[in-house]
């Protein structure tokens, strides 16, 4: 029994953190966010060189063939640095969708492109997975029509993968005829969403899954774990910044971290946040290895991290005083990221409702 990260996973984390500390100082993050594309060629090339594009792609298709836990380790690091680059949808959900629902030929065509960082596939849902806004797309032969909002990982996307009501995903090129895709300037400028309207757009449907709904659920839950891991990293970054600030900011002739009002707030946040790390590890590991526990763990991890994240985001901002409220401090990048994660792929209320059904506490 080993409940913890392997040496390789710790190394992945250290290497990604080192890269982002080096290449993504605040002024870079600010510049990329201000450009509004959610994508930066140079940063992306660096991340691909770090190996994150092929992380979840099987080895035979040119990837590293790693598991959801490895992906969660990466997601946490990306969240820690509020990284303006696609990940959860493009590099975890999309490859999983091809593996779960694509034919061998479709996998051979697309997975190597994902692993190389060339195909960046945003993911959206035209099915009731817990989102407000437009979520409708219907297929007529190979032609897709409808509108889907809140499509994840719009930044730099080349394609979009839309989950239809029957659980099958449909792949559409963003430059195809009959596609109108708007990159929404959203709350979180580090990872913009897409609003896509289809009018008879040419689609490639992935129909190879025996149970398409179950296959979609696995991809959706993996996405939930990624967003939760991203929140874990983002919240840890906010707490670390608040602790550092409390050690240097002087008022009444003392550093403010020596006041119990501030010290106890930070202790509360650490007490809330630290156990979340084990919950994320478990939820991610369950997606890899424990099918009976995977659903509950994903739903509870998403719901719990959304709540803890919100609390950490608020209080870490408050500890910074007026500075926390400014654009200059830049804390808001993490605040907004945590809030966006919360609203995507099911809010805590929605996830807990589903968790009750999954456990048979109430009927669906």
């Amino acid at each position: 029994m080993e409940f913890g990260l392997s040496e390789e996973q710790k190394q992945l984390e250290a290497s990604l953190r080192g890269f982002l500390t080096d290449r993504l100082p605040m002024q870079r993050r600010r510049a990329i966010a201000a450009a509004g594309k959610g994508h930066d060629r140079e940063l992306w090339a660096g991340l691909v060189a770090q190996g994150i594009a092929g992380l979840s792609v099987p080895e035979r298709h040119g990837g590293a063939g790693l598991g959801i836990l490895d992906a969660a380790v990466a997601a946490e690091s990306l969240g820690y640095h509020a990284t303006p680059a696609p990940f959860a949808a493009s590099l975890v959900m999309a490859p999983l969708a091809f593996v779960a629902s694509g034919t061998e030929a479709q996998q051979q065509e697309w997975l190597p492109k994902i692993a190389a960082g060339e195909a960046r596939i945003a993911v959206g849902f035209a099915s009731p997975i817990g989102q407000t806004g437009a979520a409708k797309a219907t297929l007529d032969g190979q032609r897709l029509s409808g509108r889907v909002q809140s499509v994840l990982d719009g930044g730099g996307a080349t394609h979009v993968l839309i989950y239809l009501a029957d659980g099958r995903p449909a792949l559409v090129a963003l430059d195809a005829e009959g596609v109108r895709a708007t990159l929404v300037p959203g709350l979180d400028r580090t990872r913009p969403l897409l609003d896509v309207t289809f009018e008879g757009a040419q689609a490639t449907v992935l129909s190879a899954a025996n149970d398409p709904i179950a296959a979609r659920t696995r991809v959706l839950d993996a996405g939930r774990v990624m967003l939760a891991a991203d929140t874990l990293g983002a919240a840890q970054a906010m707490l670390d910044q608040a602790v550092a600030y409390a050690k240097e900011r002087v008022q009444f002739g003392r550093v403010i971290g020596s006041f119990q009002g501030v010290k106890h707030t930070l202790a509360d946040l650490a007490t809330m946040l630290e156990p979340c790390r084990a919950l994320i590890w478990f939820a991610a590991h369950a997606q890899d290895a424990l099918p009976d526990e995977a659903r509950l763990a994903a739903l509870q991890a998403k719901a719990h991290l959304d709540d803890v994240g919100r609390e950490v985001a608020r209080l870490a901002t408050e500890v910074h005083g007026g500075m926390g409220f400014t654009d200059l401090a830049g804390l808001h990048y993490w605040f907004k990221r945590i809030d966006s994660n919360r609203q995507l792929l099911g809010t805590p209320e929605r996830c807990r409702h589903e968790a009750a059904i999954v456990q048979g506490w109430v009927s669906g």
Partner: protein, 405 residues
């Protein structure tokens, strides 16, 4: 990450199961702990010790099983015994706090004399730490011990001495060096409760039950060799003991069991004819707590692995007491709310406290507040987490002219 057990551990699992199949009928009921162990509990304890299912890592010469520490083995034993609803063995302050303290800082003679009878449940200990004037500020203890004719003569008062009324011995923190600074003036003595001059008075708590006592010392004499480490080392020894207490108080298995009991309660309790589990507001509270219990449970497994890998856990370990006791309180609060008006009949008598579901939940709910206060209160825990875990500076000392020790 690998949550399966290797061959070696599966073998131990089989061993424990075989033990329970053969001897399980001899187990006393789990729980209790408010009285001296019964003869049945003592016999069961002997069986556990013989089979290495208790005191597994305590040296053979001190009555243990003498195996090197392997936290996974201990987790498996606890898990199997828990699953069988058997008695895990006597858990008291002597076994969980004094014994590890003696092993860490006691002399060979002290270990030889005290550990074996303590783990067999024959010698019961209570803890003499807090005083009316020194609670969170434990190092301000004023109970004094002066040396006269080769004996310590003790005078003073201790409070919150749970189980003092049936204990044989007390580990006592007292001031032996009044001229030294407060942390350096303390000693840690081992005192027989039968010594003349000791008076134990029950202290009734908010639950209506007397689980605590006040203990008074008037010229109580103990030989000078009844000291752990040297004169003035008491603060160091007391902290060794407290480290073991805080881990005891944040147990995640207890939280998981409690969550399951509340789920069952919600499934069989009605509000205006509707099953409480079907009311979204109540259900959502349970679901929120489930997420937190899961986090606490896996955090416990993470700590276990870090311990097995001999990694330093730092902050992760410091939060356990505060996190676990607060979560426990929030769980019992939900149970009390599910019971509602019909759960307000309350009888703090011993029998009702054991058998009446509503009384037991209300007692737990109030006792949980005691757990948040005892063993280093929540506010003290937050100082420790902030200072040792996050590296925040200590509060500046109060101006000297305003303090009095």
């Amino acid at each position: 990450m690998d949550l399966t057990y290797s061959e070696k551990y599966r073998a131990l699992q089989g061993e424990v199961r075989a033990f329970i199949a053969r001897h399980g009928h001899l187990s006393p009921q789990p729980g209790g702990g408010r009285q001296k162990p019964s003869p049945k509990a003592l016999d069961w304890q002997r069986l556990l010790l013989e089979h290495g299912l208790f005191a597994r890592n305590i040296p053979k010469e001190y009555g243990g099983f003498g195996l090197p520490l392997d936290v996974l083995e201990l987790a498996i034993i606890a898990e199997e015994i828990g699953k069988a609803d058997a008695y895990p063995g006597i858990l008291n302050q002597g076994i969980s706090m004094l014994v590890p303290t003696l092993l860490e800082v006691g002399t060979k003679e002290q270990c030889t004399r005290w550990i074996a009878p303590t783990i067999r449940g024959e010698v019961i200990w209570c803890q003499g730490y807090s005083e009316p004037g020194s609670g969170s500020d434990l190092a301000a203890a004023r109970t004094s011990a002066v040396v006269e004719d080769g004996q310590f003569v003790i005078n003073g008062q201790k409070i919150w001495t749970s189980s003092a009324h049936y204990s044989d011995m007390m580990f006592l923190l007292c001031r032996t060096e009044p001229d030294k600074p407060k942390h350096q003036g303390l000693s840690y003595l081992l005192v027989p409760m039968t010594a003349p001059g000791i008076e134990v008075r029950p202290l009734v708590t908010m639950t209506g039950r007397a689980t605590f006592n006040e203990t008074f010392f008037t010229n109580v004499r103990v030989p000078v060799d009844q000291i752990v480490m040297g004169r003035g080392d008491g603060w160091h020894v007391a902290n060794v003991t407290l480290k073991y207490e805080r881990l005891l108080l944040g147990d995640a298995n207890r939280l998981s069991t409690r969550l399951t009991r509340i789920r069952e309660l919600m499934e069989r309790t009605s509000l205006d004819g509707q099953r409480i589990m079907d009311i979204p507001e109540y259900r959502n509270r349970l679901l929120r707590l489930q997420g937190e219990v899961m986090a606490a449970k896996y955090h416990g497994l993470r700590l276990l692995t870090e311990q097995a890998r001999a990694e330093d856990s730092g902050l992760e370990r410091l939060i356990v007491k505060y996190h676990g006791t607060l979560l426990g309180y929030r769980l019992s609060s939900l149970a009390v709310d599910v019971l509602g008006a019909a759960g307000l009949a309350y009888d703090a008598g011993d029998e009702a406290a054991e058998t009446d579901e509503a009384t037991a939940w209300h007692i737990d709910n109030m006792y949980d507040i005691g757990l948040m206060i005892g063993g280093g209160s929540t506010n003290i825990q937050k100082n420790i987490i902030g200072e040792r875990g996050l590296g925040l500076p200590r509060e500046p000392k109060a101006v000297a002219s305003l303090t009095r020790t």
